[in-house]
Symmetry: C2
Subunit: 368 residues, 2 copies
């Protein structure tokens, strides 16, 4: 019995096959690095719907609340398109985020040298890129009330409410400052304080939290539209970016696309610390369930593997082991072992999902 | 007396010197193309504040309401930083937009071949790019009520309201469809209908206007975050993009940065048709007043010149003459005549603002 618990939710589409490679890596850490994990596995998304008529059972939700970290593969697929909104596969993921109150969405945008040519940007602009966008995930205009489509006079009016409390801003700001301390110690906060009062409060609270608790971290502020421009012009100027739910939605996707390899990108969603000091946490690749290639052994397991590396770093404080795993992935790519989505050499034959997993484990072995 | 009236507001910083070149080009059209304009000139921004204690007098506002098109240089500068918010130079521009009810902001993102290397994106991704973003400019979350910072319980809460009426959406959709008909006949509408009711209404109304009035235009819909990704990945897939005030704020700046030459980009803000059928209209470069180089003859007049080209096209229905002017600018750049901001050859000596104007007029002459 380890004191590190993981709930693994492979989900739908390519989820199970990429997660299978992660499971082997988890085992490797137990065998070779004395890092044992208590791993349980369960259903989410369409797989849970097929078995139980709901994309997330109460029992699974309960288990998720009681582990150190949840590792999710992917949810969704055309098979479930006709389902009622309330039981769609994505609702399983949304329930996890909501009930675990995962307010800080960490979206790293990293571009390994070996993959820089996949970007639409010039090599020198993106090679070696390593930035982290922290998106507030549980409040803002996607959640605020009032909301809806109303009749007014003779026409319809669509309404949503952007609403942030001081404490909602402060807690995600703290998450960003904590992250910065583990990285290059710089945070850039983005809003539209020039035209939105919620942006004025955002800026003020981030600055107050900084001045009171994180004076050692370098803090700057930028309007979100200028942020979109600067991310496009020279993304390496940033270390950690913290921003609200809506701006973070756009900017994290923009940053992901800068790298050119969406199949490589992990994410973490973190909440408040639990009794043991570890944060509530869910790790998942940014990519979707890719039903078109599911079950064929073609999927790239790297984003899911790198999501586990984030778990090592942020849930279990094993930064050096996370570095080891990230380096292993980087080496494998540099050696030219690539799944089909990363192939750029005419006539080269792609590695299978399993072969990528093998190569990563081999690189881990070589690191000892 | 011509039946084409222009109000020229050079404004602050580099505004007067770039506008001086535009004035020469306006004269050229009167002399050589039989396109005479009734031109009046007035003050806006800091220049108006210095003379009258307000960034826009009622008399100037009145004149703006009664011309076919307003041509604006730039406003603002450090000299006015300490002024009260209500009389800051930018308020002059905002008053024009508001009282003229300029709801459709046209932001072209064009990348002339000769300047493609200035982009952070690969040449093939941006060379020849020619897309148009139509941003709703008078409503949405930057204007909706309630708004403010309130005390609630023991903490502050920042609130803004995203609010769109059916008619606000319909009129900007029409503007986009009309534009598309003069271009490649394709419109992509962007919102977040997956998480915002105002986005659901946006999508529905754009589709309804299309089906009822613009069935000949090809219409697609995209989530705004996917839009940010696709603009970064392969911007040439788009023709006209129509989106709301906030998404348009970010996406138009992102699209501008794709081109890499902000000093080249014009804009138009259009309102409802006046009695003579022409729309209320304000044309201005995207760049600012650049106080650091003002008065030195270094400024690039191209964005202001291209703003006048937009006036030819959208206010005066002189598309061929607009093409002529845009081609003239393109030729000048291809010849290597460049202001300092566009120089990329070591040791080359930059053209002055006046020399750029001369070169454009020479190219216009050669086009006859
Ligand atoms: Mg997104
Ligand atoms: Mg903007």
């Amino acid at each position: 019995m380890s004191d590190r618990s993981l709930l693994v939710l492979p989900g739908d589409g390519i989820g199970p096959e990429v997660m299978a490679e992660v499971m082997r890596i988890i085992d490797w850490y137990g065998d070779k690095r004395d890092l044992a994990f208590d791993v349980s596995e369960d259903l989410v998304g369409g797989a849970a719907y097929d078995a139980h008529g709901t994309p997330l059972t109460d029992a699974t939700m309960e288990r998720a609340q009681n582990v150190d970290a949840v590792l999710l593969g992917a949810v969704g697929g055309p098979k479930y398109d006709a389902l009622d909104f309330s039981v769609k596969p994505e609702r399983g993921l949304l329930r996890l985020r909501k009930e675990m109150d995962l307010f800080a969405n960490l979206r790293p945008a990293q571009c390994f040298d070996a993959l820089a040519d996949f970007s639409s940007l010039k090599r020198e602009v993106v090679a070696g890129l390593d930035i982290m966008i922290v998106r507030e995930l549980t409040s803002g205009v996607y959640f605020g009330e009032p909301r809806g489509i109303f009749e007014e006079g003779n026409e319809r009016v669509g309404v949503n409410t952007q609403r942030y409390t001081e404490s909602e801003i402060a807690r995600v700001a703290r998450a960003a400052f904590e992250l910065a301390r583990r990285r290059a110690n710089r945070v850039c906060s983005m809003e539209k304080a020039n035209v939105m009062e919620s942006g004025v409060l955002w800026r003020d609270v981030v600055q107050e939290v900084h001045d009171a608790e994180y004076g050692d971290v370098q803090l700057s502020h930028m309007y979100a539209d200028a942020g979109a421009m600067q991310l496009t012009r020279w993304p390496k100027q940033f270390d950690v970016i913290v921003t609200d739910n809506l701006f973070g939605d756009l900017l994290s996707d923009l940053a992901a696309m800068l790298t050119g390899s969406l199949g490589m990108l992990p994410s973490a969603s973190l909440g408040a610390p639990m009794a043991n000091g570890r944060p509530k946490a869910l790790y998942e690749p940014v990519h979707g369930s890719a039903p078109d290639i599911a079950g064929q052994g073609k999927a790239n397991p790297c984003a899911c593997i790198l999501s586990f590396a984030m778990a090592l770093r942020y849930s279990f404080d094993e930064g050096e082991e996370a570095d080891r795993l990230e380096r292993a992935v980087e080496q494998v790519l540099a050696q030219g072992v690539r799944t089909a989505d990363l192939l750029n050499v005419e006539g080269a034959s792609p590695a299978t999902t399993r072969e990528m997993g093998d190569a990563v484990i081999k690189a881990l072995e070589a690191s000892l």
